[in-house]
Structures are given as structure tokens and as C-alpha cells.
């Protein structure tokens, strides 16, 4: 493993270096995915571009919308007081990533670019209809997170492009979010299945006006259970409706079987965890 190490000190320089090295370069954030992949020989970049001296990439900004800099750590999300209300689901996603050491350095940008179908923070961002911003040689572009995620380990990022931020609207009114993870262990664990949900109720608190359900580890990318969402929208949020949504999500997902769990068991988890995540949201309205 031999490579050249760079420490750009401005966004412009980082973008420049990214453009110059293209597919030969890799940005380094927390390194909790990258270094392992390099050591296993899965990737062998000739240039490693640390992002740590680029100012501003680790900022959390709130004004109408939330902007998470790509270098925001899981720990920073966990600790952000503004996320404890309607964005509680985001905190729940971040606080189960790895262990303390991983969360102290692992970033939201790395979680997205790594494009693991089992990533824990990505489903919450998907449920929040997040968009991402990339900057490259051809300037800046903004995509929805959903269109950005292509397949395991691959995003729509062009070679050399730098992910700068994730953005989503601050949830308003009767909205709640929740996240649940099933794994074999309670820490340092790749999700066997994870579920993020966002629900908005009408003014009376009876009817669901908007529902988002995103699932990890049940498809090649983090997956929106649209059929399940449709079943909920416009209907009262009854236990039966939530169970129906769970069944629909279980029927629609495409999990694999591996050493952690069979596909069949993953479907069972989807069917069980979707209604539980929805019930958690509903509880948060009370």
C-alpha cells in the first residue's frame, strides 16, 4: 500500500486536487471505511486527499433547512440539541453507528459515499427527502440522495468530485421521525435490517398526510418502501394500517441471504420493524 498524501487547505484546492487526480484519488474523511478497504486491497488510490484542513466542511447549519457539511461526524449529530425533537430519528441513526471511537471520526459524507446498503444514517436522510451537493471540475451540482445512490459501493459521484453537503427541509407541524436497527450485536454491528420513518399528520392529528419509509440492508441500495408509504398517506394511522405498511414493505424489498441472516429472516424483520418505527413516530406526537 503506497500512495501520496495531500492536505488541501481550502475547498478550491480540494476540488482542484480532486479534479487533477480523478479516479486515482480518494478523499479521506474519518477513514473508517476507506482505510479498511485500502488495507484489504479493495481500493488502491495513488493519492489520498485529507479533508481535515478544509474549513467549514464540518458545519451544521439550520435556517429553514438543515445543511450538514460532509465532514459532520456521527457524534456531532448525536450531540446536536436541535435534532432532539422532530429530527429524533436522525439522532437514532447516528447513535448506533459502530462504537464511540467510530462515531467520533466517522462522517455523514463518508457514510453516503461509501454507499453500503446497510448504512445507518443514509435511510434517515432518505426519509427526510435529502439532497446532496457535489463540486467538481464542472462546478457544483445538486441531486436527490435517492438518485445519487446507484448500487453497493457506487454513487453518481463523478471521479474527483467532492461531496460538500447534505440538505433537507426542517420538518414542520405534526411531524415525527424514528429509526430502528436490528443486528446480531448491540454495538460495532452492521445492520441486518434498519428502518427509518417520517410521518406527518394533519391538523386534527388523525390522518397521515405524508409518510416516508426507508430501509437499509434489504436491497442493493438504501431503499424507499413507496408502496408502504402510499398505503399510509391519506389514512388514519391505525395499528392495522401500520401492519399493512410493514407487510407491503416486506413484500417489496429484495434482501439477500448471507452469513448474518437469510433473506427470509430479513423480510420478517422488515415486516416487524416497519410498524414499530411507525408506532414510535406516532408516540412522538403524544
Amino acid at each position: 500500500m503506497s500512495f501520496q498524501y495531500h492536505e488541501p487547505v481550502s475547498l478550491a484546492e480540494a476540488v482542484d486536487l480532486g479534479a487533477r487526480f480523478g479516479a486515482d484519488g480518494r478523499f479521506l474523511a474519518g477513514g473508517t471505511d476507506l482505510i479498511i478497504q485500502m488495507r484489504r486491497g479493495k481500493v488502491a488510490p495513488r493519492h489520498v486527499l485529507s479533508l481535515h484542513r478544509v474549513p467549514g466542511l464540518d458545519a451544521i447549519e439550520l435556517n429553514g433547512s438543515v445543511r450538514l457539511g460532509a465532514l459532520v461526524t456521527h457524534r456531532a449529530i448525536e450531540r446536536c440539541a436541535s435534532f432532539q425533537g422532530r429530527l429524533r430519528g436522525l439522532v437514532e441513526g447516528a447513535e448506533v453507528v459502530g462504537g464511540h471511537q467510530i462515531r467520533n471520526v466517522g462522517t455523514v459524507g463518508g457514510n453516503i459515499i461509501n454507499a453500503s446498503p446497510a448504512a445507518d444514517v443514509v435511510p434517515v436522510l432518505l426519509a427526510l427527502d435529502a439532497t446532496i451537493t457535489c463540486v467538481g471540475a464542472d462546478g457544483e451540482r445538486t441531486l436527490t440522495l435517492e438518485e445519487f445512490l446507484l448500487e453497493p459501493g457506487r454513487t453518481a459521484r463523478r471521479p474527483g468530485e467532492l461531496l460538500t453537503a447534505v440538505r433537507f427541509a426542517v420538518p414542520q407541524g405534526r411531524t415525527a421521525t424514528a429509526f430502528l436497527k436490528a443486528g446480531r450485536r448491540r454495538a460495532m454491528e452492521i445492520s441486518v435490517v434498519c428502518v427509518a420513518a417520517r410521518l406527518t399528520l394533519d391538523a386534527t392529528g388523525e390522518r397521515c398526510v405524508e409518510a416516508r419509509i426507508a430501509l437499509g440492508a434489504v436491497a442493493p441500495t438504501t431503499w424507499r418502501a413507496r408502496e408502504a408509504e402510499r398505503l399510509l398517506e391519506g389514512r388514519p394511522l391505525t395499528p392495522e394500517a401500520m401492519r399493512e405498511a410493514g407487510r407491503a414493505a416486506a413484500a417489496g424489498c429484495r434482501p439477500i441471504g448471507d452469513v448474518r441472516a437469510s433473506a427470509r429472516y430479513r423480510r420478517l424483520l422488515v415486516e416487524t420493524l416497519v410498524p414499530r418505527a411507525l408506532a414510535r413516530c406516532r408516540k412522538r406526537f403524544e
Binding site: G99, A182, R184, R185, R186, A187, M188, E189, I190, V259, R260, A261, S262, R264, Y265, L268, L269, T272, L273
Partner: protein, 769 residues
């Protein structure tokens, strides 16, 4: 004479939870483990391993690798003076071919498991060594393999070794079980399966070898057995006194460092190159190729009377010995002897076999065959209790062994058997039952007891030696060749010596683990080290005390029996005293030694004929009971441990802190094997070679383990201590399985107890299968 010395009635140090001398260094990262060692001019070494589980080596060409930059040596089997290592397995009952269990240092024409070492490389840097290993040309021709012991014993199965796949077969038959079964009111039958488990120590296999200025090949290695210097000498074909093994503190052993690991390879490379050589296995390598715990298939048939007495048991055990024998035959013997658990069973038949397969080798691991059986016999016990409406404590109380009873093998229990009080205590310690926290949650409790031998098989004639001596200033030195695997082995020896010789712990220096400079103390395995080396140190300290007091007596004008050693002084009745250094100076003048070398011999015996025999197999046993409370998610099968209590009769706790550490660590490791850990193999190919897929418990996965240290005051160790290294790993899997059955009514019989297996058993995944 030494035995007559009466100790101070109230012990000062023994029995106290004193902080260990090695603890602070470890926390501060000051301990120099095997891999922390470095020397000028040191080479880095690596092993080339087979990617196939079963194949013929048709071509092996090291030419290109040897010519690469930085490469100092490339070795294959033809470079090894003696390529086979043999272990004797005495006391076999059934002839199953040669019992000198062999293993190859490097593969010759055949590889028999994935990860089998094929070649060694030493180079200036690790990168160069690895590059050269990759450049070795090996052409394999895959051969059919066999991956399951049942299939291995079927007629026509591919042979792993020429002599056939049956490696060992033990049998016990006692009483008329057919007649007893005929009288039984209930008969419970079960088949239980355990998995491959890895030792998963923090510190992977590692060491450094060099040829010292005296020409002796010196190997500083992470090992539980410094006496492998003999095996190194055999492989190198040099005299045993030309090899020295130094064993630094270990980052865990758990049996995985009982067989040779890197030392033979290091010896070969040092001898070939004449330079210091270092070898450190990666985690992936360790998980891939190191010997695992044996998977067992255990069939039990247990009959009980209507009131709950066990009347008969039929047991059939089959273990996967992997590709090489290692210690499989002995592990199987432990299973055979303990198969009926800590219970009186008048009529027993045990058939135990282990077979070669093309899976990774299996060998020693904490519990050593007495562990897998706990899962089976304690599940059976629970089912009988349930069938008869007896609660878990009651069914065990009725059947518990007592002193004077004998095990199925005929060995009479001569010391206190802390059954059933251990079971009663842990069950009570669970406290009031908590209500379930949610509608989909059920709460259950389980109990499991066990017995585990401590000390080696009596016909192995075990011994340990230790040297204890005073320096002229009154400070004390203990020399004893124990490897300290992290259990506080060295520290407990200090406590014993300091107790007998009346000094503070801070005045003791201990030198351990050096085959050339410390008296040999045998292996740190078999829960034997406190028992054996503790007794050796105790004996040496008592002799030294007698020597000293005999010199001091005339100085104080009293009989030596009236003297005591306290706080660095010899004290007589009435408060008169002499500083120890004064007595030591007198010893020097009179030619009385200020040290003593003692050898402790364990009670020995002849091999027993298991089938008919009644005889002693092990010196003694440690008994235990564990209780678990679990919460089950009835919709997903997820199991959460809520409460865990573990009790063992340790005879006497020399250091209660270390004892609690063993109980807690053993319980957690046992829970890992019960709930999480599994080496997953597909046709001999290991799918779990990282800690992301081989799952050991984290701090978040286990509740605090409440350790109940029970002291019966009876045991064969120093101050009547019993061995506690292995026993706590036995009961956890069974305790949890029994708790799951209590909560759900469903019994899991295959380890690990995964949520998916429970979900399937609960019918959540549709049809069974």
C-alpha cells in the same frame, strides 16, 4: 518438616482482593507483549497458506520469490529437518490406529485444510516478505474433501489421512442401562449441536527469535507452554538444551496457544538466516487457520423415575477433529468423563468418537471438551424437570453428586461437592421476576450447572517447580516458569510467597516464563497453574520459612515453633523480634541457604480402563451454577440478556479480584459462544475471517455478571484452592437456552442461539426447515 509449620491463623494477604502487580502496566500500555519486541537487524516473516481445503500440491517453486529484493529465506517442507511433530495420547481404550497424533510443520504433497502452512518467508520488511510469499509458485490440484464428521465416518468417504478418518473412540459402560430404562417413568431424548468457536484473544500469535551470544536459539513468544522448546528442538534436530523459550505476559490464550504457533517457524528461520526474526499473525490469519473449539453432535437419552431421579443415560458424542489431530483425542476424553454432568446416574453408556475432516484443525479451548457437554446435559435436565413438573433447582437438587459418589467413569469424588447449594444461590440471586416491558416481550429464566476437571489427567504425572529466595535486604524473589495468560497467574504466586514469608506484596519480585532460567512449571492450561505452581511456591516458601526460623531460634533464644514471620521480621512471643536481614546474614555465615527450590507432584495414577474401570482420571473437579434472565422479542426472536449470576466453589479464593475476573470473563466468553460466535465454513472455506463477521460480544451485549465466589475450604491447591480458569465458560449457553425455553416454550438445540434460529423455532418464518 515443612508441612508442620503452622501459618499465622489470620491470613494477611491470601484471600484479599489485592490489585495485581501487572494490572497497571497493562492499562498504561507499558507491558512488552511478544509483538512489542524488536532487535537490531531483525527480519520480518510471513507464512504462505493454502487457499484450498483439500488439494494435492503438484508444483511448488520458490525460485522467483527467493530472488526478490530483501528476501533472506524462503522455506518449504524440504527445508525442515523433521517435518512431523507428534503428541502422545496415552490411555486409549479402543485401537484406532496410531495414536501418536501428528501434525506437519509445513505441507508436503497434500494440504488438508484451508490456511494450512505451505511455505515461510523472511525478509527485511514485512511488505517484502508478503510480496515474496505471493510470488511463490504453487500449483494445486483440488481433491475431494469431507467436511462433516458423520460423512467422514461413512464408508467410502475421502480419507483425510491414510489410516482412516476415525481419530479416537472412547467408551464408558456402567450399570445395566437397558434394565434401568425399562424402569424409567419418563425418557427424554435430544440431539444437540455445537459450532466451531475461535479463541479470539486480543493478542494474535506472535514472537521474535534470535540466536543468542551463547549460540542458543532464543524465542520470545506468546504461548501457554514454554516447554514447546522441546518441539522446536525436535523439528530443528538440535539438542533440547540449545533452545530457550521466553514467555512474556499474554494477551489471552484460552487454549489457542497451547499447541505450537509461531515458535517452530521462528526457530527454523532464525537458524537458517542467523538473524533475529519476527512473526506476527494478522487477525485474519488467526481466524482463518488457528485451531478452533470442536463442534459436537451429541445425542442424549435420559430416563428418570416418576419422582425425578435420573436412572439411566445413553450418550453418543461425535466431534469434528478437523484436519490434524492436535489434542482432539484428549478433548474427547474430557467430554466422555463429564458427559453425565454433576449428577448421579447409576447406569450410563457413553460412546464418543472424533473424526478427521478437511475443516480447520480443532484443539484445546477453555473448557476442553467438558464444555460442549454442558449444553446437552443441562438441556436434558431442564426437560426432565419440566416433564415432571419439578422446578429447575429441585430436579438438580435431587440428582446432584455428593462427596463419596462416583462419576460414570468410576472416579470417586473425594472433596466437597458444592451441589446443590450453588444452584440454590444463583437462582435466589436473580431476585424478583420483572414484568415484561412490552406486549411482544416475554421474560424467562434458566439455570445450568457444571463440573470441570482441574489439573491434568493423573497418568500424565504432572509436576511443577518453583524457587523462592530472600535477597540480603529482605526482599523476596520468586522464580517459576509459569506463562501468565492474563489470569493473574504470577500475581497469585507472589501473594502465596508473601503470605508465608511475612513480607508485603511490594517486596516480592517474580520471574516467570523462561525455559532456561525459571524452574519449569508446566503448561498454563487445564485450570492447573494455581493448583500446581501455587503448591510448588507454597512448598518452597514453607521450606524457606523453616530454614530461616531454625537459624533465628537460637538468636532469640526460643524454639523455632514459637516464631513467626511478620512484616519483614522474625517475631517471638512477647514482642521480641529480629529484622529478617539480620537472620539472613547469620544464614550466610552458617552456610544455610536463603532460598529453596521445590517440586510439587500431583497425585498420580495409572490409566484407567474406562469401559469397565473404576479409577481416577483427574485430580479433582470444580463445580458451578449459572442463572440467566432473558427477554425475548416474540416477533423477531431477538434475545436480550437482562441478568446473569454465576457461582463457583473455588475452595479458597487466593485473590478474590482475580477469581471474579475469571468468573466474569469466562461467563462472557461462554455467552459469546452461546449467542453470537460461530466460525462459518462452506466446504471447509472459512467465511468469518474478520471481527465484522466473527461476532464476539461487546460491552453492550452482556449485563454485569454477578460473580458469587463460594469457598468450601476444600480443594487440592494451595490453601485449599481449586482451579477456576476454565469452569465459568461451561454453563452460559445452557443457562440461556433454558431461559429461552422458559420464556417461549421452545427449545433450541443448536449453538449459537441466534435470533433467526429462535424465530424459525417460534414458527415466524413459516414452515420449519
Amino acid at each position: 518438616m515443612a508441612e508442620a509449620v503452622v501459618l499465622h491463623p489470620s491470613l494477611r494477604l491470601v484471600g484479599r482482593p489485592l490489585p495485581r502487580h501487572d494490572a497497571r502496566d497493562k492499562v498504561a500500555a507499558a507491558t512488552a507483549y511478544a509483538a512489542d519486541w524488536g532487535m537490531p537487524g531483525m527480519l520480518q516473516a510471513t507464512v504462505l497458506r493454502s487457499p484450498y481445503a483439500s488439494a494435492r500440491i503438484v508444483k511448488l517453486d520458490t525460485g522467483r520469490a527467493a530472488a526478490m529484493p530483501g528476501v533472506a529465506a524462503v522455506l518449504t517442507a524440504k527445508d525442515v529437518p523433521r517435518n512431523t511433530l507428534a503428541t502422545d495420547v496415552p490411555g486409549q481404550t479402543t485401537a484406532v490406529g496410531p495414536l501418536r497424533a501428528t501434525l506437519h510443520v509445513l505441507a508436503t504433497e497434500r494440504v488438508r485444510h484451508q490456511g494450512e502452512p505451505v511455505a515461510l518467508v523472511a525478509a527485511e520488511t514485512l511488505e517484502q516478505a508478503r510480496a515474496a510469499a505471493e510470488a511463490i509458485e504453487v500449483q494445486y490440484e483440488p481433491l475431494p474433501g469431507v467436511f462433516d464428521p458423520e460423512a467422514a465416518l461413512a464408508p467410502g468417504a475421502p480419507r483425510v489421512h491414510e489410516a482412516g478418518n476415525l481419530l479416537a473412540h472412547w467408551r464408558i459402560a456402567r450399570g445395566d442401562s437397558a434394565a434401568a430404562f425399562a424402569r424409567a417413568a419418563v425418557i427424554v431424548e435430544g440431539e444437540y449441536t455445537t459450532q466451531f468457536v475461535d479463541a479470539a484473544y486480543l493478542e494474535p500469535e506472535s514472537g521474535v527469535a534470535w540466536i543468542d551470544s551463547d549460540g542458543v536459539i532464543t524465542i520470545r513468544v506468546s504461548t501457554q507452554v514454554i516447554e514447546h522448546f522441546r518441539d522446536v528442538a525436535e523439528v530443528l534436530q538440535i539438542p533440547q538444551n540449545r533452545v530457550r523459550v521466553i514467555g512474556p505476559y499474554l494477551g489471552g490464550g484460552f487454549g489457542g496457544k497451547e499447541d505450537v504457533t509461531v515458535e517452530v517457524y521462528l526457530g527454523l528461520l532464525a537458524l537458517r538466516t542467523g538473524r533475529p526474526v519476527k512473526m506476527v499473525w494478522t487477525r485474519q490469519e488467526s481466524l482463518l487457520a488457528r485451531a478452533k473449539r470442536h463442534p459436537y453432535r451429541m445425542r442424549y437419552r435420559t430416563g428418570a423415575s416418576a419422582s425425578g431421579e435420573i436412572v439411566a443415560e445413553q450418550i453418543d458424542l461425535l466431534a469434528d477433529a478437523g484436519a490434524y489431530a492436535y489434542l482432539s483425542a484428549l478433548v474427547l476424553l474430557y467430554s466422555t468423563v463429564t458427559a453425565a454432568g454433576p449428577y448421579r446416574v447409576p447406569a450410563v453408556e457413553v460412546e464418543a468418537r472424533c473424526a478427521y475432516t478437511n475443516n480447520p484443525p480443532t484443539s484445546a479451548m477453555r473448557g476442553f471438551g467438558a464444555m460442549q457437554t454442558v449444553f446437552a446435559y443441562e438441556s436434558q435436565m431442564d426437560r426432565i424437570g419440566r416433564a415432571l413438573g419439578l422446578d429447575p433447582v429441585e430436579i438438580r437438587r435431587m440428582n446432584a453428586l455428593r462427596r463419596g459418589d462416583s462419576l460414570p467413569v468410576g472416579q470417586v469424588l473425594e472433596t466437597h461437592v458444592a451441589m446443590p447449594e450453588l444452584a440454590e444461590r444463583v437462582w435466589a440471586a436473580l431476585g424478583p421476576v420483572r414484568p415484561a416491558r412490552a406486549a411482544h416481550v416475554k421474560v424467562g429464566r434458566g439455570l445450568a450447572c457444571n463440573l470441570q476437571p482441574y489439573g491434568r489427567i493423573v497418568w500424565l504425572h504432572d509436576w511443577s517447580s518453583a524457587w523462592v529466595g530472600f535477597e540480603m535486604d529482605g526482599s523476596l524473589v520468586v522464580r517459576c516458569g509459569v506463562p501468565d495468560v492474563g489470569g493473574g497467574q504470577a500475581s497469585s504466586l507472589c501473594q502465596i510467597a508473601a503470605e508465608v514469608l511475612g513480607v508485603g506484596l511490594e517486596q516480592v519480585s517474580v520471574h516467570i516464563g523462561d525455559s532456561a532460567l525459571t524452574p519449569l512449571a508446566g503448561t498454563t492450561t487445564a485450570s492447573r497453574q494455581l493448583y500446581m505452581s501455587g503448591n510448588a511456591v507454597l512448598k518452597a516458601a514453607r521450606e524457606l520459612r523453616a530454614q530461616l526460623l531454625a537459624v533465628a531460634a537460637p538468636m532469640l533464644g526460643v524454639k523455632d515453633s514459637a516464631l513467626d514471620l511478620l512484616e519483614g521480621a522474625v517475631v517471638a512471643d512477647g514482642g521480641r523480634s529480629l529484622p529478617v536481614p539480620d537472620v539472613l546474614r547469620r544464614c550466610a555465615r552458617e552456610g544455610v541457604p536463603r532460598s529453596h527450590l521445590a517440586v510439587y507432584h500431583a497425585p498420580a495414577g495409572e490409566p484407567v480402563d474406562l469401559a469397565t474401570g473404576s479409577g481416577k482420571v483427574f485430580p479433582d473437579y470444580t463445580f458451578g451454577a449459572h442463572a440467566a434472565e432473558v427477554e425475548i422479542d416474540m416477533e423477531t426472536g431477538a434475545v436480550r440478556l437482562v441478568k446473569y449470576v454465576a457461582a463457583h466453589d473455588v475452595g479458597r479464593a487466593i485473590n478474590p479480584q482475580s477469581v471474579e475476573g475469571q468468573i466474569q470473563g469466562g461467563a462472557v466468553q461462554g455467552l459469546g459462544g452461546g449467542l453470537l460466535e460461530e466460525v462459518i465454513l462452506e466446504e471447509g472455506i472459512n467465511l468469518t475471517t474478520s471481527f465484522a463477521s466473527y461476532l464476539i460480544p461487546t460491552a453492550a451485549d452482556v449485563p454485569d455478571v454477578e460473580a458469587l465466589v463460594v469457598e468450601s475450604g476444600e480443594g487440592l491447591g494451595p490453601f485449599n484452592a481449586r482451579g477456576i480458569g476454565e469452569p465459568p465458560i461451561g454453563p452460559p449457553a445452557a443457562a440461556v437456552a433454558n431461559a429461552i425455553a422458559d420464556a417461549t416454550g421452545v427449545r433450541l438445540t443448536r449453538l449459537p442461539l441466534t435470533p433467526e434460529r429462535l424465530a424459525r423455532a417460534l414458527g415466524l418464518l413459516g414452515k420449519a426447515g
